[in-house]
Structure formats: structure tokens, C-alpha cells
Symmetry: C2
Subunit: 359 residues, 2 copies
Amino acid sequence: MGTSIESNSMQTPASPKRRPTIADVARAAGVSPTTVSHALNGKGYVDTHTRERVKEAARALGYRPSIRAQRLRTGEARSIALISSMPYEVAGGASRLGFLMEVAAVAAGSALTRGLALVLVPPMMSGRLPLEQLDIDGAIVIEPTAGDPNVEHLQERGLPVVCLGRQPGNDAVPYVDIHSSATTEMLLRHLSDQGSRRIALLIGAQERNSYIESRASYEQFCAEHGMVPVIAVADESGGETAGAAACAALLEAHPDIDGLCALVDAFAVGAVQAIRSRGLRVPDDLRVVTRYDGIRARSCQPPLTAVDLHLDDMATQAVALLFDHLGGSGDARRSVAPAVPTLVVRESSAGVAPPATSI
Amino acid sequence: MGTSIESNSMQTPASPKRRPTIADVARAAGVSPTTVSHALNGKGYVDTHTRERVKEAARALGYRPSIRAQRLRTGEARSIALISSMPYEVAGGASRLGFLMEVAAVAAGSALTRGLALVLVPPMMSGRLPLEQLDIDGAIVIEPTAGDPNVEHLQERGLPVVCLGRQPGNDAVPYVDIHSSATTEMLLRHLSDQGSRRIALLIGAQERNSYIESRASYEQFCAEHGMVPVIAVADESGGETAGAAACAALLEAHPDIDGLCALVDAFAVGAVQAIRSRGLRVPDDLRVVTRYDGIRARSCQPPLTAVDLHLDDMATQAVALLFDHLGGSGDARRSVAPAVPTLVVRESSAGVAPPATSI
């Protein structure tokens, strides 16, 4: 595959071995290494003239202080990890430009403005993430399950962790509220407003807080609207196929449902396929809505009504919350609540005609 | 915005201050610190019994070797950065789930399997990237311009750099060939095959290799097909608006063009708007194609014909190439050529009817 062309090293000016030390700069400037350190770091008292001389010597020699040595002294890596605990089938592959990456893009920028590097840890085919080798100060974990091994590992290392979406059964981990109850309520109310009277819920089998909250909201909604709860569960690692199978079984057992809230976008796309292959129409016979407004929701045929979770705000607040805890302050916040999600209505639930094309 | 709840620290078991040292383990196991180091790192000769005793002592004390200290000794950060040098208006904001993030998702996984952490450096509003503070061993820079300040900074630090897309005017930087000539040729041939006879090219004003190669391919194509070259240039930082303005001016000066190759997706989307606001139809009056097959191309109305650049392969090869150079091997490859791009034909150039909907 690769074209191999004649090779030469490109780092002639500053190969690691010839890297000038603080002692070289001190010698060149005729001062002590401590003075060099103070002059370059803006610490201690160094008169302007000496500071300039040191800076010039450093520049001339190509001296740069070792970030790594500084960090060993301060005990800080100055980097945080962003970790997805979703299986590869949902968060990786075809849908890899999803929730995780949308959060990553914003979080990385937000971290950098605080002097933190963001290390991206995507879902791996292997399942188990190789976190041991990461030299980090803390981590943001997206939607951890109960007993999530990644969260456990990080906590064992004594590293601050912040979850995007509360971790079930672990109140010790600070979290960003991703408003799962409010999101489900909003989707159900929308289906009801559009005319759906027998609404089913499709969630993942994993023990995530979003499913737990959604289920509770759904059951309450059913009670309030005199609906019999119909809940289907699919394994996340089955992706679209699992969503299609769960929906097919649902339609078999409950042919009268006229609304489906499929929380995972991959499930929703699979569900639309299952509905169509039964000869039913979306939204005419059955309205379908999902949560995350990503590529899957937008490119589904018909496009899916979804929720703008304001991931920008969530990501920014997750970094801010983790930053608070990195400081080791005893009164850092336990949770933050970003902007409330808003509905993005599309054809799958509203029967809006697609925009006119030139054909 | 944030909800503040009662706070407590979660790292009681292993606060940084009480972190056990190698000396603690040595004392507990009744051996020397060197033996502890050998036993835990699998180096030197340590008999099985002693090794087990040391491991048990380490486990009991909760000892973990300092990754940072190890790395200071080895001189490796074991992390690489992925840097976008595109302006925020093109690569950030609305289109942030684009090229960079698609590469990032794959590169991060690929790096992790090699024991490298991937630090994500997205385009910043500020323009200048704060790279000084990053403790990295090397970096992948996406489509650098001639004299790109980020590449310059990294090279000054003596860090290996690999470019995704050759850097103009700097043959010293190893690169992944992103096949810009072949991509442009393919798009032009497609427009010609569909019936376009007067094809214009719209590229960015920045000095990127993709524009340079595209322009050359386009001029050659024009010469071969007896077409007069019509090249419009727009500033990347103007995003869709700049694309629309450049296309409007193009149509004003050359009302007879019937094909447009707009290399930047943001420009292509803007161009479609400009074409429509002149009362022209895409593709009936004017076919439009673009390069990157991202959200913008897919969600444009009509959807844009684009190119599958096989970013998976590009990202994997970029990490592999950088990994070669991290090793400091004198005969590391100078460039690699990933899979040749393939065309994704959509409505904007082919007039394919959209898939049937239920409406």
C-alpha cells in the first residue's frame, strides 16, 4: 500500500540528544540555573536586563524547558481523557461521528483554553480500554453503566472522574445531568400531541442511567395518559439489527401501537426498517422518535424527529466540572445541569413534506 | 446554570499525597527497590517466589509505578497530537463533525493499540493553537498550509510531524498522500460524463497542497477537453458565505457554466444557495460536486456528489507513519499512499430521484 521514498531525518536542528539544558543557558547568559528558571518562568525577582539576556541566550541555543520534568515536579499531567463506554457497535463504526465525537470536538477546545490536553479514548473493538498506559489527571466518562470497569479503574488510580450522564449506583462520581427524564417526557408529549395513543418505548438492555430515567418517565406518562406500558429492550451491541428485531417482535405482540420512542438512534433506524418491512408507513401508521440528533437521525428515511441535547453546553460544563475537581477543592460541585434539551421535529413523527428539490 | 449539591471528595483511598512509593513496597517485601522495579517490570533476574512476594506487597499497598517518572526516564510522552490547521469557520462550528473528527475517531483507536494516547487539537476560535503546553512525542497535522505555524512550532521543538496531505514548500515533512489530483480528476470526469461541458473550479485562497494539485489537474483537464479554465477562489474563513459569494460572481461573469467542482464542502453548500437564488436548478442547469463526503454534503439540498476519501485508511496510515518516525529510524518511510478515493454519486450531479418516502 505505502509508497516508500528515499528517507532522511527532518530533525537536524534539534535532535533529542543535543537538546540544550538549563545549564547551557545559564553558562551562556553568565547566570545561575535558578536565575534562568526564574527568568523564563516569570517567577522570583530577576531584573529586566538579566531576564532579556537569559531569554536571548535561550533563544539562541534553542532551549525549551522540559514540560515533562516540570510536570513531574508539579505532579500534574495537565491532560484529561474523554472516554466512551458505549459498545463499538453503537458508538463506533458507521456511527462513529456521533455523540462522543460531538462532545470531543467541543471538550478538546474547552480543555485547551484551560491548559489541558484532551486525550480521546474511542470505543474499541476489543471492548476493554487500555487506560493503564494513559498519563492523565482525570477523565470524563460518557454515560457509564452501573459498575463500569473504566470508572472503576480510574477511581482505583485516585483520578478525578466526571460522568456525562449520572452513573447508576454510584453517587460518588460528579456528573453532568443529561436530562434523560425531561428528554423522554418531551418526546412522549410530542408523539401524543401528534395523535399517537398507543406509544411503545424501546431502550437498551445495559444498565445506564438514561434508560433507567427514561423508563421511569415513560411509566409515569403511561399512568397519566391511561396507556398500558409496552417496553422493548435490545442489546446495544446488536446495533441497528437488534433495534429492528426488537421492533419486529413489538409489532407482532402489539400490532396496534402508533408511536415508538426508540432512545438509541441505531435502534430507531432499525425500527424504521422493521416497520416498513411489515408494510407499514412512517409516520402515517406509526410515528418514530429518537434521542440523539446525529447523522443517523438526519439521514434516516424518513428523517427522524430527535432532540438537540445542546452537547456544546454539556461538553463545556463537563470540562469545567472536571477542572473544579482537578483542583482538589473540597467544595467542588457535585453535579451541573446544562441547557434543557429542545425538540427537533422531522418527518418521522410529523409528516412534514421534504423540502422541494429541483427534480 | 449549574446545580450545586453538597460536595465531598471521592478520592479518599488514594490521594496523591499518600501515594505509596517503590521504597514502601521494597520495605514491605523485604527486598531492594531495584528488585521491586525488576519484579514489576519483568526485567532483570528475579526468582518466581520473590516476584510474587513483591507483586503481593505492591497490590496490598495499592502501589502503581509512576507513568510520568517512567516516561521522564525513557524520554517519551507516549502521546501524539492530531492537529487541524483549517480555520474554525470551515472545520469547527456547524461542520465540526467533519474531516478532523472522522480522522480523530480512527486515529485515536489506532494510536491506542500502539500504546499511544491521541491528544485532540481542534481548530480554535483564536486561530493560534496553544501547542507549547502539550507534552507530546509527535503530531499529525491535517492539510497544513505553506509555512504553517503549527508545523513550524513542532519542528522547532524537534518533534516528528506527519502531514495528512503534503505540506506545500516543505518536502522535509513525511506525509500521507490524500490523492488530491486523482480526486479532482475523478470529479471532473464525472461531471463531463454527466454532460457538463463548461466546468468551473472553486477552491480556497489558502496555500494548501490540495488546492495546488486540484488547480493543476483542472487546468490539464481543461486543456485536454478544449475548455477555457474558469477558477474562482474563496477565503476559507468565510465558510458558506464566501462560497456563495464566489459562486455568484462566477455566474455573473460566466453565465454559461454547467458544472461546478467546489472542493471545500462549505463552499459547495454556499454555491448551491447562490445557484438557486439566481433561479437556476441543481443539477438540471448546473451540476455541483464536492470533495469531502461529510454531513454538509449529505444534508445539502439536493445532496452533493462527493468523494469517499477512505479516511479510515488515511488515519490508520498516518498513525503508522508517525509511529515509524517516533522510533527515530533513519529509513522510516517518507510518504504513504492510502486507498484510492471513490466517487459517491448523489442528486447534485446525477439527478437521481430521492428514495421513496411514505408521504
